[in-house]
Symmetry: C2
Subunit: 163 residues, 2 copies
DNA sequence: CATGGGACCTCTAGCCACTGGAGGTTCAAG
DNA sequence: CTTGAACCTCCAGTGGCTAGAGGTCCCATG
């Protein structure tokens, strides 16, 4: 087998989808993208279906869906019935809630941080608001203490790819 | 040696700072927090300086500073001169820019996602906007394509702890 | 003084979603 | 036939923790 006009090498697929080559291989490894045919020399030869599927994956990633959610969405998109549509809606709503939650927290953070940066250092270094704010949380440097109330849970907070 | 009223066990330090026990040990491992004295039985015995330093670290993490930045800030806070203050300002400004960048992207994302979710599925599953939007990026489903323009770089996008 | 149980110890592996590098093979153009 | 870009596999690393296994220590009660 060789690369024809119907098949795509991994590099061509990468160019057409904007997905990096190692990422494509990784999607294959975790089973999001099925293993393509190979040329006689062992190189991957993708078809149109792979292109479609990878576009879907990449687009969903841009919306911040985790890979597990994308896996479900891909399954659902193959069906096209009412139940699938509702399930997709539910996944998307959950993602929206997630994003709105992050947004709120990030806005609070932005306010605090910009306050800290703008107050800055009033001439005397001993009076540096930045280091002082970080050192003494409890002495009125903070606008709110929303960020200090609950145990941290950093790991659900990633933001998806952006420009 | 034993635990006195001046020294803190790792559990007490955890309670006083709100930082989880394994996290404290991890900060020690990566050199953010110096290794404390030990009791005769080998348990960590922290002093007041550790408490102060860990408070600083945790507070800086709440502002989303990466550990490397916190390392620098800690170095700077020990000095208290003009140059340190300016350096701290620079680090904080960079972090603010970072946060504002994320914020913008997250806002765009929120708009797109909520549009997608609200448009939803108009009766017929074949018309499901959610799966269609994800499938066809280029056919006018998106409000903008800001999220599709540049190669993704997901990994600098974590948000700090929140409530 | 023995015992129980909670807090502590070290070490290792796992999370997400990739990214990069080493070291080797294949392909297509000249 | 030679070059060199693109491809291959495998492995390790990123950030910032978190969880578990399997063991030790400390202190209060009986």
């Amino acid at each position: 087998m060789m690369m024809t006009k119907e098949t795509l090498s991994i590099g061509e697929l990468s160019r057409q989808t904007g997905c990096k080559v190692p990422t494509i291989r990784w999607y294959e490894q975790v089973g999001l993208l099925s293993a393509p045919a190979r040329t006689s020399g062992g190189q991957r030869a993708y078809g149109q279906d792979h292109l479609t599927r990878l576009d879907f994956i990449r687009h969903a990633r841009e919306f911040g869906f985790p890979l597990e959610a994308i896996r479900s969405l891909l399954d659902l998109s193959g069906k096209g019935d009412q139940a699938s549509c509702e399930a997709a809606h539910q996944i998307a709503s959950a993602q929206l809630a997630n994003v709105e939650n992050k947004l709120k927290r990030l806005q609070a953070l932005q306010a605090e941080l910009s306050h800290m940066v703008m107050t800055g250092c009033r001439g005397a270094p001993a009076d540096c608001r930045i280091l002082a704010t970080l050192a003494d949380h409890d002495h009125g440097h903070c606008l709110t203490d929303a960020h200090a109330s609950e145990p941290p849970s950093v790991h659900d907070l990633e933001i998806p790819p952006g420009p």
